[in-house]
C-alpha cells in the first residue's frame, strides 16, 4: 500500500521532512486501520458520516464538516503553535527553558504518562463499539461516531509523541496501544474504568459527561507540562474534548427533559408508571449519576501519591490552570486537605500539597462537573418538578486511595457493610435498573425521529437542521 503521508495525514509538524518519523508511521498506520476495522464502531465502516475533521489548528481549519467513511477519516497530527521562549512555570525547574526534547532522567516517567493517556483513547472506542446498533437517532449516532474518530485522533496524537521522541521503546509502546483490549482478561486496558463496557446510551452520555471530563482535566494538567511537545499536543486535544462533553451534557439533559415532559403529561412521579410510559425516571438517573461520578473520580488516583509529587516537582504535569494560579508554583511548603476515615468517621487531614496533587485535580474536577448537574436541574426546575439531582459525596463508592472500601452513603455518612448492602440499590444502578434502561434501547435512524426516552436537541450540528441525514447507510 503506497500512501502519500504528507497528503493523507493532515499535520502541522512538517511530517514530509522527517523521514524517520514517516517510516515509523508507515509501519504503524496499517496496524491502526486494522485495529479500527476490528474494534471500531461495529458494522458502521461503510457509512458516510457527517463528521468534523481538523485540517489545521486555526479556528477556520479545525472544524471542517463533510461526509466521510470512518476508515477514511483523515486522522491528523496537530500541535498548537509554539510559544516563543516558553519557560517552565512550576516545580523545581521553574524559570528554565521548556524542554523541546525528553530529558534522559525523566524519560521513563514521561513515557508512562503518555502511554497511560494514550491507552484511554482506543479503550473508549472499544467500550462504545456496540452502541451504534441501538442509537436513539441519526443525530446521536453521528455524535457517537464523531466522538469515536476523535478518540482515534487523540491516539494518533500520543503515538506521534512516542514515535518522535522515544525511539524504539516508543514504537513498541505504540504497537502495544493497539494490542491491549478493553475488558479482555489477558491483555486489558491500563485503567480499570476503561475495561467496563458502555452498555447503553444513558451510560454513554454519563461517560462522556463525567469520564471525558476527567480526560479534560488530565489534558489540562499535561498542557502545562515542561515537555513542550506534550503541552502543545494536549492543548489542541482539548478543543476536541469539548465536543465530547457537550454530547454527554446535552444527552443527559435531553433525557431529563423528556422524562419531565412525560411526568407532566401523566401528572405522576411514580417510577413504575414512568417506566411503563417508556422513559427513564429521575431516581434511576440519579443512580446512574452516582455510579459514573464515583467511578470517574477514582481515575484521579490515590489522594496521597508520591508519583503525583514527582510529576509536579519534575515539571512533567502541572495543575489545572496552573498559569492562572497565584501561589509560588513550587508548593514545597503548602499543605492540602484530604479525607480519611478514623474511628468510623470521615476526618480531614493536612498533607504536603505536592503529595495531594491528585486530590487537588479531583476537587477541581468535582467543582466543574457539579456545574453541569446544576444546569440539568434547571431543566427539571423549568418543568416545575420539585426533584433535584445531586452529585454524591466524594467519599461515596470509592475504590482507590484511603477511602477505598469504606462504606459511605451519597450524603457522606460512614455506614456499616450491612446498611450498605441493604441500601445499595437505592444509590447505584441495580441489575434491574440496567435491564430496564437496556430494554429501551431500540434503533431509531429515520432522519429527524428520536427514541421515545429522549428529547430532540435544540439545534443540529454545524447549524444544520435536526432532520439532516447525518449518516448515510451504505
Amino acid at each position: 500500500m503506497s500512501i502519500d503521508y504528507a497528503e493523507k495525514i493532515p499535520n502541522n509538524v512538517d511530517l514530509a521532512s522527517d523521514r524517520a518519523l514517516q517510516r515509523a508511521l508507515e509501519q504503524w498506520q496499517p496496524n491502526y486501520i486494522q485495529w479500527w476495522h476490528d474494534m471500531g464502531p461495529d458494522g458502521a465502516q461503510s457509512f458516510d458520516v457527517y463528521l468534523r475533521t481538523a485540517v489545521s489548528v486555526d479556528p477556520q481549519g479545525w472544524a471542517q464538516f463533510g461526509y466521510v467513511k470512518m476508515p477514511d477519516y483523515r486522522w491528523g497530527i496537530f500541535l498548537n503553535p509554539a510559544e516563543k521562549d516558553r519557560k517552565i512555570h512550576f516545580g523545581d525547574h521553574k524559570g528554565e527553558d521548556a524542554w523541546q526534547d525528553v530529558p534522559g532522567e525523566y524519560r521513563a516517567n514521561l513515557r508512562r504518562i503518555i502511554v497511560t493517556q494514550g491507552d484511554t483513547e482506543p479503550a473508549s472506542v472499544e467500550q462504545q463499539r456496540q452502541l451504534g446498533l441501538t442509537c436513539p437517532s441519526q443525530y446521536d449516532l453521528r455524535n457517537l461516531f464523531q466522538v469515536n474518530v476523535e478518540e482515534g485522533r487523540h491516539l494518533w496524537a500520543m503515538v506521534y509523541l512516542l514515535h518522535r521522541y522515544f525511539g524504539r521503546d516508543g514504537r513498541e509502546e505504540a504497537e502495544a496501544l493497539l494490542e491491549r483490549r478493553s475488558g479482555q482478561t489477558d491483555n486489558p486496558r491500563i485503567l480499570q474504568a476503561f475495561n467496563e463496557a458502555t452498555p447503553d446510551w444513558l451510560s454513554f452520555f454519563m461517560f462522556t459527561y463525567f469520564t471525558d471530563r476527567d480526560g479534560k482535566f488530565q489534558l489540562c494538567a499535561l498542557a502545562e507540562s515542561s515537555f513542550d511537545p506534550l503541552a502543545r499536543t494536549t492543548k489542541f486535544m482539548l478543543t476536541e474534548e469539548a465536543h465530547h462533553m457537550f454530547v454527554g451534557e446535552a444527552g443527559v439533559s435531553r433525557v431529563i427533559q423528556r422524562t419531565c415532559q412525560v411526568m407532566n403529561d401523566l401528572k405522576t412521579d411514580d417510577p413504575a408508571k414512568l417506566r411503563a410510559a417508556g422513559v427513564i425516571d429521575l431516581p434511576t438517573l440519579q443512580r446512574y449519576l452516582n455510579f459514573h461520578f464515583s467511578v470517574t473520580i477514582d481515575l484521579f488516583g490515590a489522594d496521597e501519591s508520591s508519583n503525583a509529587a514527582t510529576f509536579y516537582g519534575t515539571g512533567l504535569k502541572g495543575r489545572f490552570e496552573e498559569g492562572k494560579r497565584t501561589d509560588d508554583h513550587v508548593l514545597k511548603n503548602e499543605t492540602y486537605t484530604v479525607l480519611q476515615v478514623a474511628d468510623g468517621r470521615l476526618v480531614e487531614k493536612q498533607v504536603p500539597m505536592r503529595n495531594a496533587l491528585n486530590e487537588v485535580l479531583r476537587d477541581d474536577f468535582i467543582r466543574d462537573s457539579i456545574g453541569g448537574v446544576g444546569r440539568w436541574n434547571k431543566v427539571i426546575e423549568k418543568a416545575g418538578i420539585p426533584f433535584r439531582l445531586k452529585a454524591p459525596h466524594k467519599a461515596f463508592h470509592r475504590n482507590i486511595g484511603s477511602l477505598a472500601g469504606v462504606k459511605v452513603s451519597p450524603d457522606g455518612a460512614v455506614i456499616s457493610d450491612a446498611e450498605w448492602n441493604a441500601r445499595v440499590d437505592e444509590w447505584l444502578p441495580s441489575a434491574a435498573d440496567r435491564a430496564f434502561v437496556a430494554s429501551l434501547m431500540g434503533r431509531v435512524v429515520e432522519p429527524g425521529k428520536f427514541a421515545n426516552w429522549i428529547a430532540p436537541p435544540v439545534m443540529g450540528i454545524n447549524r444544520q437542521p435536526i432532520d439532516l441525514q447525518y449518516v448515510r447507510f451504505n
Binding site: P59, Q60, L238, T239, M245, F246, K378, V458
Partner: protein, 424 residues
Amino acid sequence: MNPSEIRFVKQHLIDPEICIRCNTCEATCPVGAITHDSRNYVVDASKCNFCMDCISPCPTGSIDNWRNVPRVGVYSVEAQFGWDALPPKLADEELMPAELGEESTAAGALTDGAAPLNGQPLQPSSAFGATVPPWSAARAYTNLYGPGAPEKAVSATVAGNVRVTEVGKEYDTHHIVLAFGATPFPVLEGQSIGIIPPGVDANGRPHFARQYSVASPRNGERPGYNNLSLTIKRVLEDHQGNPVRGVASNYMCDLQQGDKVEVIGPFGASFLMPNHPKSHIVMICTGTGSAPMRAMTEWRRRLRASGKFEGGKLLLFFGARSKEELPYFGPLKSLPEDFIDINFAFSRTPSQPKRYVQDAMRDRAADLAPLLSDPDAYFYVCGLKAMEEGVVLALRDIAEQASLEWASVAAALKRDGRLHLETY
C-alpha cells in the same frame, strides 16, 4: 460594521441554556472579548470585533446568538453573568431607525408572509452568511491595533473631508480620507476600522469605538499614499424624530483637514472580495452600506484600467429613500455598462411606487439565478439589519423559481464563502 452612525448595534451573545462552559471560545478569541464567571461565559460588547473565530469551534452552537440593541442598552458583562436564559429579542418597532423605517417594515412583512421552508421555520437570515472568505481572497490583516494588540490605537490624519450630499437637504453624508503616514495599516475592500471619539460619555467613561467600512480599495483612496476613505452619515435625530446628535458621526463629519483621529483595527476576515479572473460580484446595499461596494468596485475598475485582469460581472443593487440620499459614488457614476450593472431602488420618490432592493433583485431574477449556482459568483449584502432577511428571502425565491434547491444552494454559498452579510 457600521458605516453610518451607530445607535443600534449588533451584540454578540452566548446562550447560557445551551453553553456547556467548555472554554473553547475564550481560548480562541484573539481579542480577549470572552470571559466567564462561575455561572456563564459572556462576550464583552466593547471588545468583540465580529471576527467569527469563536463560531466554528463551539461544540454546542450556543455561541451563535446576535441581538440588535440600542447602543445605550448594550448588555453589560455583569448583566450577562446573571442570566439563566437569553433575553427576548427587541421588537422591530423598538429597533427601527426613523429614516429607514419603511424598508424595515417591508422586510418584516415579507418575513411574516414567507412560507416555511421544508415545513420548518426559516433559519435566522444571519445564519446564511459565510464565515469564510472566498478562496481567492487576499490575506487580511486584522486586529493590528486594539484592546488585544500591543498597540492599543494609532493616530491617523484627516487628509480630506467632503460633503457629498446637497447642502440644504436633510441628508448630510461625508466622504472622509484618513492618512496613516508611515504607520502600517493595511486594509482590504470589505474590512472595517474603528474610530474612538475623544472625550467621555454621560457616565464619564471613554466612548466605545465606532466601526466604519472602508470605502476605498486596498492601495488607498489615493493610490500609493497609505490612506483610506470612509463614508459617514451625520445623525441628527433619533428614530422618533427627536433631535439627537450622534457622537461619532458628528465628530467625524466636523473634522477639519489636518485633525488627528484615534483608529483601531482593521477588522473582518470573511467579507472580502474574490481576486481570481472572471469572478463575479453581486453587491446589495442600502445607504452608507455602499462603502464596501464602492471599495470593491473601485479596485475592479483599477484592475480593468491596468488591462491585466479579466474581471467577471459586477451587479449592484442599491436602495435608498430617494436619489438625493445616494452617497457620492465618485468616478463610479460614469462607469460603462459593460463594467457594472447598476440597479437602484428608491422607496420615496414622489408619485412612484415604493421599491426596495429586493424588488430590484426580483426584477433581475433571470440574471441572478445562474449566478446563484455559479461557483465563481460572490454575493455581498451591507446595510441596515432590516434588509437582510428580505434579501435572503429574495435569493431563496429566485433560486426556487429557477428550480434550484435552495437548501443546497444556501449551503454552498455559505460553505464556499460566497454569501456575505454585514448588517447593523
